[in-house]
């Protein structure tokens, strides 16, 4: 009985909501709030950002033409290209003297994109991160170990300030040096870890090698983001680190982490709709898709001062679920991102996402996630090769068993993808290890 009460209390505590007034707002009230805020943002953006003004003018549009939320599709999209063209400060809607923080996107290709925050923006950001951290069960009693790289990247600072807002104890560990990460986790008794899911796997690998029992750590929850990951990978991380693994979502162009996050029901990430309006579009045509459809997420920020984003094309592929969540939050949930529309591979005309391949690999006992996809074109035919690092669990002394293993993977990949893939086993550590986002795809078709 006592145990039942303590379990109950545990769940009640875990199910806390940081800002119930806003997170559980009625949908009608929310829509009114969204429109008021959208109108303000539109006016400010139109007045202060030449890029938005030009886009509106070229369509013969003025902010007053947007008379309700249903007029949202009239507003032109903003793309990464717009941000590049206005590098570094052209998209800022306030003078630099009001900007108190500058971050940038990872900038994997070409110039990074620069984003700014006013003091008020930083406050909003901390609040929103506090929301999803609370939703994942983090409280003021937690010791939050942040293993995202500190720097221009928004991940570490976003989580850092959110965790401090909750009142948790923050360890600003930064990324890299896995052995030291583990030592600090053991000695400081970290209870929550923040990193990319692929780095969580790297830590689990290292723990196994060093013989560290996950049960000997104080970790109970992981907050993972910054890259797409599969449900299979979640299970693997939960099992190997002995924690609850939660997903959160954000992109630096729109704010950084804190745009959406999972509650403990883990049935999608609540998008904090009192600050962002979400739409799903067809990535090819740009047309808004009906509720429930899978497509590219488009976000409009409606409270940001320094760097407002109007209908920003995130390139992330997901779908939205408006059905009520058991946690009581009324905000729409987005499914785990399947990948990016610019990451989506079209192989022999079939859409393939790296996460689909990851799912297949994880279903095989002992198969670790160290894999890479190589796409080539032989004549006019695309070929997909999945390189999988061998480890002791999938290495067989007998050739026929080793071949059978490769055949099994190929068969499963074919049924999951609908397109043939060749599996190539490679030696361990053939692939670069990542402390940030994993690079899974090598597309040699355009060389």
């Amino acid at each position: 009985m006592e145990k039942a009460i303590s379990t109950m209390r545990f769940y009640e505590e875990q199910m806390r909501i940081w800002d119930p007034l806003n997170e559980c707002m009625g949908r009608e009230e929310l829509a009114m709030l969204q429109f008021t805020r959208l109108r303000d943002t539109l006016n400010r953006a139109y007045r202060n950002v030449p890029c938005y003004q030009n886009k509106f003018r070229s369509l013969g549009l003025v902010p007053e033409d947007i008379k309700g939320l249903s007029d949202l599709p009239l507003i032109p999209f903003t793309t990464k290209e717009d941000l590049r063209l206005n590098y570094p400060y052209g998209m800022f809607a306030v003078p630099l003297r009001e900007v108190v923080r500058i971050h940038s996107s990872s900038g994997t290709t070409g110039k990074p994109t620069v984003v700014g925050y006013t003091r008020h923006d930083l406050n909003t950001w901390s609040e929103l991160v506090a929301r999803f951290m609370t939703a994942a069960g983090v409280t003021e009693d937690d010791i939050v170990h942040i293993a995202f790289g500190y720097g221009l990247f928004t991940g570490a600072f976003g989580l850092h300030y959110g965790a401090e807002r909750i009142g948790a104890s923050v360890i600003p560990m930064s990324s890299g040096n896995t052995d030291k990460q583990l030592m600090i986790m053991q000695d400081y008794r970290s209870t929550a870890v923040v990193c990319t899911p692929s780095y969580a796997m790297t830590m689990a690998d290292r723990m196994e090698k060093l013989g560290i029992d996950p049960a000997s750590l104080a970790l109970k929850v992981g907050l993972f983001g910054a890259e797409p990951w599969s449900e299979e990978m979640r299970r693997e991380i939960e099992q190997r680190l002995g924690i609850i693994a939660t997903d959160n979502y954000g992109l630096s162009e729109v704010m950084g982490p804190g745009i959406a996050g999972e509650c403990l029901h883990r049935c999608g990430m609540h998008i904090f709709e009192d600050h962002f309006i979400a739409e799903i579009i067809d990535p090819e045509t740009g047309e808004v898709l009906p509720s429930g459809a899978t497509g590219e997420l488009v976000l409009t920020s409606i409270t940001k001062e320094a760097f407002p984003m109007l209908r920003y094309r995130t390139r992330d592929i997901t779908r939205l679920d408006y059905t009520p969540c058991a946690c009581g939050r009324t905000h729409v949930r987005m499914k785990k991102t399947m990948g990016r529309s610019d990451d989506m591979l079209i192989i022999k005309g079939v859409n393939v996402f790296p996460t689909q391949i990851e799912e297949v690999l994880f279903q095989v006992e002992g198969c670790e996630p160290h894999y890479q996809l190589v796409i080539e074109r032989e004549g006019t035919m695309d070929t997909l090769e999945v390189q999988v690092e061998v480890n002791e669990a999938i290495f067989f002394d007998e050739m026929k068993k080793q071949r059978a293993f490769v055949d099994l993977l190929e068969k499963r990949l074919f049924s999951a993808l609908g397109v043939g893939a060749r599996v190539k086993l490679v030696e361990p550590s053939s692939m670069p290890r990542h402390e940030g986002k994993a690079k899974r795809v090598i597309d040699r078709r355009h060389l």
């Binding site: 061998v390 480890n391 002791e392 002394d397 007998e398 086993l425 490679v426 030696e427």
Partner: protein, 143 residues
Amino acid sequence: MKVEQISIFIENKSGRLAEVTHVLGTAGVNIRALSLADTSDFGILRLIVDKTDQAKSALKAGGFTVSKTEVVAVEVPDRPLGLYGILEVLDRGKVNVEYMYAFVERCGGNAVIIFRFDNPEEAIRVLTANGVGVLAGERVYSM
């Protein structure tokens, strides 16, 4: 009566085999017998060495995937039909051979062949019951 063998996964690219022998050599390990099974992508190198555990840890530290298996070293009369006699005994005893390879050294008047069976205990029972010599591990490592 069983002999420990180590198997190593090797990607089919130049220099990997040399790397294995270099790692073993610098760890002071001497190779007693070897076999390489290969496909176009990868190979499985199987070795009997004088110091199995040392070899295994040196290779693992060198980043190789290694596993240890038990095989049986059988004395085979070095004359025509010598190997046939042994295989015939195994066949009659319904023992299946997974793979086999020959040892570099001879043992007295006999050649030595390494067998991998799916059921090594049963194989040893059948062989010894039929008067075929099976070598002990210690004997093989120091040949």
